[in-house]
Symmetry: C2
Subunit: 277 residues, 2 copies
Amino acid sequence: MAELTNIKSPRVKAARRLTKRAFRDRDRAFLAEGPQAVREALALKDVTVELFTTVEAETRHADIVAAAVAAGVPVHRASGEVMSELTQTVTPQGLLAVCRFVHVPAAEAVPRGARLVAILAHVRDPGNAGTVLRTADAAGADSVVFTDASVDPYNAKCVRASAGSLFHLPVVTGIPVADAVRHAKEAGLRVLAADGAGTRTLDEVALDVPTAWLFGNEAWGLPPELLALADEVVRVPIYGRAESLNLATAAAVCLYASARAQRQTLHSVEDPTTPTL
Amino acid sequence: MAELTNIKSPRVKAARRLTKRAFRDRDRAFLAEGPQAVREALALKDVTVELFTTVEAETRHADIVAAAVAAGVPVHRASGEVMSELTQTVTPQGLLAVCRFVHVPAAEAVPRGARLVAILAHVRDPGNAGTVLRTADAAGADSVVFTDASVDPYNAKCVRASAGSLFHLPVVTGIPVADAVRHAKEAGLRVLAADGAGTRTLDEVALDVPTAWLFGNEAWGLPPELLALADEVVRVPIYGRAESLNLATAAAVCLYASARAQRQTLHSVEDPTTPTL
């Protein structure tokens, strides 16, 4: 296999342009870097378009390269310089896949029977968004919605922070928050906005029901018009002296509180007459 | 007030060297950047040694500068170049305090009556460590222990990620993990190691008792010899397909699960005879 060494070759340029959102949207493709992401991409049918690998990675991750070959995915050996050009990371991991978009149509934002959904309303930092996606996956969420005011789920930092979760569960992108909330309500989910403005805390609301969590911006949370869309605004209780939690942490606490409540038999302290299921 | 414009002036150089751990340890001082951290530092007695401020920040945060002056803290006006030299951030916030160390002696690692303690065993990323500190504060933890194999709590990135929490609760630094665990056990706390190796999950252990959580390295968790120190190894349940959670997220789920259990009346699914209070 000849090694790609010219960063100006058409193949490298075609992949390189996927570091920009406009070109991702035009080509309906994105870049997934590192063994974990590439392995997850290859586990899905017809997602991986081509694979770039350095000589070192080809040896270290021979199983992944073999899986690509077996799936009929073209594998290109690339020089370190070419890989640096494509990955934009300080220490490239030597494996990079060009992948087709994996998100599902807006109509599938809330899958049938869904009990836990995360809606990202104004999450702007790709690392935070990817972390929320990973956490939602871990918490067993049925889908994650990146609304039109949130970061692109195919941003390289988001893909990296999601640690493969982008390939695990239905992801929707680019729909208005109001549409996401409507889908959730129509599917019978209770929509809870996580925000410091909440009058009740996580400890005071019923979490064992199908729930869609709405998460806002890292710095300023959710604006009033979005808070108004939710069935209730709930805040994570601050038991100590911190002013707030960071977004990914707050989302983790909310998503896991719901996931655990849905799986445990809890008695409500406010309403001792609630029957135990 | 004359503006400091020379990055080689003795005052600037004396502060600048605090970006290095060896000098922080020698001077027993560190740098706290931004209005939130500076405000919290000034709220403590005898912590702030001096304050650097740009002209813009002096106007925008006049209340903070006034508080410094009222507390007898020397305020130095600094040029943008000097501030950049001191803060190492892409967008300096224009306020930077030189602070005395705030950690407490090892013997106070677990305060009398403590019910929730976080022990960082091998946390190496300062951003993660600071986020865990902030989360522990929010969850009402009684102290946070940075053991000798963990990052320096006075690292600028850690201070920034802690969002002021470094100044909120007792922090211990530089003690061996075994000592931290011994202090916790002697104080009657149950020591739970958070690790994927746990046989029981967070849903299966009693969390309403005084607990010290032991958190390991971002990539490889806790080594066997540290797992062996704990009363029990507990894993955060993964309900979906993610391989794991990131460290700060896992810590948030564990700390909040304990904090909420200690405050709520929960029925144990294993023991339906537990009376409701």
